[in-house]
């Protein structure tokens, strides 16, 4: 028994080495390592998980609560998110910043498959190594987008100056995205009836910035912007940030400077009073709860004293890597379950 676990330990160490080597290459901004790292953190085989964890813990520790801005773009299908994404990428490139993008598309509930892409507009502006795009299927059947997206964001944050994540807003996924990013932009399009739907979905409580696209449509865009501003002022928010409503046209480029200005203002606001760390920590905690619940179920969480005790642990360790903490707590849960059932004695 002893020798077997020791050999396992060596294997773990080797895998850890692989993760650390990849982390080093990413932090040195080696573009060739990005795709490899994303493949690894997406890989669910046990041998890959060990390497992926080593990689992610290393990245999280290296980046701390700093690193590049992480911005989410969300909104219903057809509002022009891809065009907006393309425009923002072009502008970032013109400033000399490199950009890493995760683009999320829904998976088919029936087959589990997904159609990704239609992102040539972004790719076309990106025939340079300074832009990287990875499409991701939301994989609702496999437990949602949060885990792979979160890992993906850390990989991109290590290697690029700006990290963007685009998701189709269909209700639930926004809250997941809000936990992943520093600033969530909700992209809306002019048209009657939308506002009511947004409010029903509870979507208006989440975004930090609202962009009304297709402002070139004139009066109708103006009306939508006004309605959204009114709706947002009614929505309850925990913080003293009131989300600005920006009128843009991704097509002719108008309003994009205003949007970037709004993003910068939100970033400056986050920088005060430790708000950014607070927000990242909130995202970390949500991811850990999510991970433990999925991996070990409610029984597992109960075994270590339930959600309240878990939250207390998280509060006591504000600066620990989320990935490391998740693994450690997972081991604690497993140990507790084992001792309870008598296995392993």
């Amino acid at each position: 028994m002893w020798s077997r676990s020791r050999r396992l330990g060596t294997l773990e160490a080797e895998r850890g080495e692989r993760g650390l080597r990849l982390a080093k290459r990413l932090l040195a901004r080696e573009r060739g390592a990005v795709a490899e790292a994303l493949n690894l953190v997406d890989d669910r085989r046990p041998e890959a998980r060990a390497a992926a964890l080593a990689l992610l813990i290393e990245l999280e520790q290296a980046l701390g609560f700093g690193g590049p801005p992480r911005v989410g773009l969300s909104g219903p299908p057809g509002v022009g998110k891809s065009t907006l994404l393309d425009a923002l990428v072009r502008r970032a490139r013109a400033r000399g910043e490199t950009v890493g993008i995760l683009a999320v598309d829904p998976s088919s509930r029936r087959s589990g498959g997904a159609l990704l892409g239609d992102r040539l507009r972004v790719r076309a502006s990106a025939r340079d190594p300074g832009v990287f795009l990875r499409s991701l299927a939301a994989r609702e059947r496999l437990g949602g987008l949060a885990e792979s997206a979160r890992a993906g964001l850390f990989v991109l944050a290590a290697a690029f100056d700006l990290v963007l994540i685009e998701t189709v807003g269909v209700g639930q996924s926004e809250s997941e995205v809000a936990d992943l990013v520093d600033t969530l932009v909700w992209v809306a399009q002019p048209g009657a009836g939308d506002l009511l739907q947004y409010m029903k979905a509870g979507v208006l409580e989440l975004p930090d910035v609202v962009a009304v696209n297709k402002a070139d449509l004139g009066a109708i865009a103006e009306r939508t912007a006004n309605e959204l501003a009114a709706g947002l002022s009614l929505a309850e928010r925990a913080e003293d940030w009131s989300p600005p409503v920006v009128r843009i046209s991704a097509r002719d480029g108008s309003g994009l400077a205003d949007l970037e200005d709004a993003l910068a203002r939100h970033r400056a606001w986050l920088a005060q009073h430790d708000r950014l760390s607070e927000r990242r920590r909130r995202g970390r905690d949500a991811a850990i709860r999510d991970f433990l619940a999925r991996e070990h179920g409610r029984v597992g969480v109960e075994a270590v004293g339930g959600l309240a005790a878990l939250d207390e642990t998280l509060r006591r360790e504000p600066d620990t890597s989320g990935f490391a903490l998740a693994v450690r707590l997972g081991e604690v849960i497993e140990a507790a379950l084992r001792s309870r059932s008598g296995v392993g004695r």
């Binding site: 990005v34 795709a35 994303l38 493949n39 997406d42 890989d43 669910r44 085989r45 890959a48 299908p77 057809g78 998976s107 088919s108 029936r110 087959s111 589990g112 498959g113 997904a114 159609l115 990704l116 892409g117 239609d118 992102r119 040539l120 507009r121 790719r123 076309a124 025939r127 990287f132 795009l133 990875r134 499409s135 299927a137 994989r139 097509r251």
Partner: protein, 666 residues
């Protein structure tokens, strides 16, 4: 021998429609020889096929043109090329149809300039520029500029020709390609009418249009229809369109002159339904489809092009095209078709079907107009989505045997065909055509006056930014020696380039068959072994924009449980490989219909090797057997042609291919 004097035999006999054959390949000289031979055989009009670089505004020496020059049509880079294409063919007496869209204004400018150089008066020129960008966004894929400037170019050409070239059809509103993309008759009517309304509304809004010109503009709008094998329904479709067009002219545009409200259309019969299996059956299909658009006098086509029986196998030879021309001649001259009044007037069956099509088409047209018209319905991908859905349905009906295709999913036992064997059974484009075109272009550039070219391009750009009509400065640029690529670059600089939505968000199939379910389980099991779901990339390298097949594969792969990266058309091999790496895919599927698979597939394989990416590649397209063998030797894992209609089996083989590649790399 020219046209026989058929009027003498029967004084009431109608004049036949214009006989054309869609053709052109290799070079202006080779195509000119072909045209003259066709005219000598009794063809009464020309239909020019341009190669993809010309259609998308690139000179023959542009990197994107690699492998595509002279493949699907004739390369025309300069005025000299255009003059050579029509050498010995009198402009004034020739009715010329040009299948040209994004660069239509330029090719028309070259045609006018060439006619002027040969003493022709533009006012006398007869013919058609296809010039329909909406359907390019939806189906054919040779668009260049965004929808708005594209509509502006169309409107410029309409406004220009209505007085300067009054016998020219400046646009052919195409429902043809909608049917090729899977449209139902109702969708064909509704979407093409939405398109016509977008054009007419844009022209009507022009400040420079003389107040009395709108009825004449309406009278110059012609259509380009498809005719499928359900030929009775096709008769009804054409009759419904004629009725609705008359109504539209009257009600929406106030055209009082009945003659200007006549529905005028040309036809190329269906290619979608031509089969690679037992290809001789296609001759019968083509005859029946021709009947659909000629039987009803009230809704008879003005011009007809028939495909060749073997075009699903490769490029047709002159003999194959001649066979199709003879079908038209026998129909027009031997049968009594042209001696009768309309055969269907008073038929309850036909009337009811026409009424039903018209009613449903009006409802669908109303939906498109409500969302802002054809341009809006392109940008929000509504029309594209509906087309992909219809096409998916059609393919499934064929796969399940619900829709019978003789020789394909029924009656497949066959004697060996003596027609399709051996060397020379299809035409091969001369491999030196590209090289020679580049040399001619370089020689042309050397001898032209550089200062005149610069001035003409500046003049063109100024006119476009000031909102002036694109035609006059383009004609001047043609005379000055500007090339196709230079003209298009000038416009790209002002208008930008466009990417249309791919529309592959189609609804999922309603019922999973047992076979699909089995494939799905294999896909999932493989995903577990791979550590993450099977992810593939579907790529269309080169300039070929026919994306219907690639879209269907993408949708089906999704339904089989794969994660599918599909970014649409016109990718360079380098971009495809970059995408494959960044996206972390397990396999690449390439779709190439332009016949340039030789060059493009090898380029992709080379780029993969350079990137040290061991991703297996499969290829689909119109690929002759010997080419397929060659591609397999070069490392392609599977090669598919139109006869591989069983998409479930194809999905299964993608799983095989990835499993094999994984076995090689544990």
């Amino acid at each position: 021998m020219g046209r026989p004097n058929d009027q003498g035999r029967c004084p009431d006999r109608d004049r036949p429609w214009v006989f054309r054959t869609y053709s052109g390949h290799s070079s202006a000289r080779a195509s000119n020889e072909l045209y003259r031979a066709n005219l000598a055989k009794g063809q009464t009009g020309l239909s020019v096929a341009f190669d993809l670089p010309t259609q998308t505004g690139y000179d023959a020496d542009h990197p994107l043109a690699r492998g595509e020059v002279g493949k699907v049509g004739v390369p025309i880079s300069t005025l000299e090329d255009m003059e050579m294409l029509f050498a010995g063919i009198p402009f004034a007496q020739t009715n010329t149809s040009m299948t040209i869209n994004a660069t239509a204004a330029w090719l028309l400018a070259l045609y006018v300039a060439a006619a002027e150089n040969h003493g022709g008066d533009p006012r006398a020129l007869e013919g058609t520029t296809q010039n329909d960008l909406i359907k390019e966004f939806l189906s054919r894929g040779t668009y260049v500029f965004p929808p708005e400037p594209s509509m502006r170019l169309i409107s410029d050409m309409v406004a220009y020709t209505v007085d300067a070239m009054p016998r020219w059809n400046p646009i052919n509103i195409c429902s043809y390609h909608l049917q090729e993309a899977g449209a139902t008759p109702v969708q064909e009517i509704a979407f093409s009418f939405a398109n016509a309304i977008a054009v007419l509304d844009a022209v009507r809004a022009r400040p420079d249009l003389p107040p009395d010109a709108l009825p004449r503009v309406f009278g110059r709008i012609s259509f380009f229809l498809n005719a499928g094998i359900r030929f009775v329904e096709e008769v009804c479709k054409a009759r419904a369109m004629a009725e609705l067009w008359d109504e539209l002219g009257h009600q929406r545009y106030g055209v009082t002159d009945e003659k200007l409200r006549r529905f005028r259309y040309g036809v190329q019969v269906n290619s979608l339904g031509l089969t690679e299996a037992q290809p001789e059956n296609n001759v019968i299909r083509i005859v029946l489809e021709a009947l659909g658009v000629t039987l009803s006098k009230k809704a008879r086509c003005r011009a007809l092009q028939l495909p060749a029986w073997n075009e699903a196998l490769g490029l047709p030879r002159p003999f194959d095209q001649q066979w199709s021309l003879r079908i038209q001649q026998i129909l027009a001259y031997e049968t009594d078709l042209l001696e009768h009044a309309d055969l269907f007037d008073g038929s309850h069956v036909i009337e009811a079907k026409v009424a039903q099509l018209a009613k449903e088409a009006k409802a669908e047209l109303g939906r498109v107009l409500d969302m802002g018209g054809a341009v809006a319905a392109v940008e929000n991908a509504y029309m594209k989505r509906r087309l992909v859905e219809s096409h998916t349905k059609r393919l499934r009906a064929i796969e399940s045997g619900e829709q019978i295709v003789v020789g394909v999913n029924a009656f497949t036992e066959s004697e060996p065909s003596p027609l399709v064997t051996g060397e020379g059974s299809i035409l091969k484009v001369d491999a030196s055509a590209e090289h020679e075109q580049v040399e001619r272009l370089e020689a042309f550039r050397r001898k032209r006056n550089a200062a005149e070219v610069t001035a003409a391009l500046r003049n063109l750009r100024d006119a476009l930014t000031n909102g002036q009509n694109v035609m006059p400065p383009s004609i001047r640029a043609a005379h000055a020696g500007v090339t196709t690529g230079e003209w298009a670059d000038a416009l790209r600089g002002i208008f930008g380039e466009y990417r249309a939505p791919t529309g592959v968000v189609a609804r999922e199939r309603e019922m999973a068959s047992e076979a699909t379910e089995k494939t799905r389980q294999r896909v999932q099991a493989l995903g577990v072994r791979l550590g993450r779901p099977l992810k593939i990339l579907i790529g269309k390298p080169g300039l070929d924009g026919h994306s219907n097949g690639a879209e269907q594969i993408a949708v089906r792969a999704r339904d089989a449980g794969m994660e599918v990266v599909y970014d649409g058309i016109r990718l360079t091999p380098g971009e495809i490989v970059q995408s494959a790496r960044d996206e972390g895919v397990h396999a690449i599927g390439l779709s190439i219909l332009s016949g340039s698979h030789g060059v493009l597939v090898h380029d992709v394989l080379r780029e993969l090797a350079t990137a040290r990416l061991a991703v297996p590649v499969v290829v689909g397209g119109i690929i002759p057997d010997e080419d397929a063998a060659e591609l397999r030797r070069a490392g392609v894992k599977r090669v598919y042609t139109p006869k591989d209609f069983d998409l479930t089996r194809l999905m299964d083989e993608i799983v095989d291919v990835v499993e094999e590649s994984q076995a090689g790399h544990p």
